[in-house]
Symmetry: C2
Subunit: 229 residues, 2 copies
């Protein structure tokens, strides 16, 4: 094993869970078997399985075995973040669904932000737009700058639970967002639209904020669908 052995192990075990999910066999091999199968120590396997358990991918029953849980019903959103982080079996569906969730969350966050935003929130959003513009001029990929603006907007809704969820959604869509901003000409429109949204929030106009954000997403979704994963 040449590369990062831990990363390899996570990918291998994640793939193993995916494979096992398609069979009636809900039970995984024992930790000792998994260790020898994937050329790692039992310690390393156990640490990864501990994370899987926390993300509700599996259930470990002492003195019995390791069992796969229903992912759609039980698993954490961060199990999908893990997939993205370790580049394992990302599906187009998951991106589509994450995008839909993002729109839902952010539109309602914008509604709340129009009421709750402080001067400091506005400054942070303006700073994010400025940083975005600088990155655009220097030709960098704008995925992270775009994320920073949108997270600043959500943060203005003063609900950390929403912010945490949004962070996960942005993490799990990172690669497709990078691909999106590789399309020429995506930056110009974004800057203008971000400025408009900020203005609406500044004047506490929640209806206008919501509509502008909806339009922002509507325009991007056309391009979005054309990206091959």
């Amino acid at each position: 094993m040449t590369g990062d052995s831990r990363q390899d192990l996570v990918k291998a075990l994640l793939a193993h869970v995916d494979r096992a999910r398609e069979t009636p066999a809900i039970r995984l091999p024992g930790e000792r078997d998994l260790a020898t199968t994937y050329g790692a120590s039992r310690t390393a396997v156990r640490e990864v399985l501990g994370v899987f358990e926390a993300l509700r991918l599996i259930e470990r029953r002492p003195r019995s075995g390791i069992y796969i849980r229903d992912q759609d019903t039980d698993a954490s959103i961060d199990a999908l973040v893990l997939r993205e982080t370790f580049a394992v079996s990302r599906s187009a569906d998951a991106y589509e669904q994450a995008q839909e969730a993002r729109v839902i969350l952010e539109v309602e966050a914008a509604r709340l932000a129009a009421e709750r935003r402080t001067a400091r929130d506005l400054n942070l959003m303006q700073a994010a737009i400025d940083a975005f513009r600088i990155s655009a001029n220097e030709g960098r990929n704008l995925a992270d700058d775009d994320e920073a603006f949108h997270l600043a907007l959500i943060s203005a809704a003063k609900n950390p639970v929403l912010s945490r969820i949004a962070k996960s959604l942005y993490l799990m869509t990172r690669s497709i967002r990078v691909a999106y901003f590789d399309i020429p000409g995506t930056s110009k429109g974004s800057i203008a639209e971000h400025e408009q949204i900020l203005t609406a929030l500044k004047s506490k106009d929640s209806a206008r904020s919501v509509n502008l954000l909806r339009g922002h997403y509507r325009r991007s979704s056309a391009l979005w669908r054309k990206i091959k994963i």
Copy 2:
């Protein structure tokens, strides 16, 4: 240490992170120190820290140290689930925010469900209502039955990402929901309202579904606020 040592360790380390978060010291003691401090082996400490890292509570830099991350910005929603599961420092704010997030998510999910629900979804929701009624007659606490109905509703929106997020929100609010259903008389209204929502979804009336659900939450929120944690 008499009880579940693993649970004790998670609680202790979670508390340690909370304490450290309030000081300028972003760096935690080393794994060996933490192990001796809390009377556990380094192995056990490492497994817990691995989970903390996956939930973006901390960052581990090889050969350097363990650093606390900004929770409001970076941490996963499931870090709050962990707090609920291990009964550590739950704040009234977090419940309030989770409730707000639940309403946002579920209202929009209902809108989608009105379009996308299948006959099977309607059957599952009806089954959840029936189970709810039986539990009510037997005097059991209805928190889990209520959760089952709402998760079935969200599942009808055919977006597993929304379902996963909702699952976390329900897990992190479990104790307060149990307390809510200990209040006498909460079951009667819920059953009727669930039936009404189901009828609206059956006729694909999204506006009515949304309004009924909003009303459902509006009525419960009055009682909700009176619960002491």
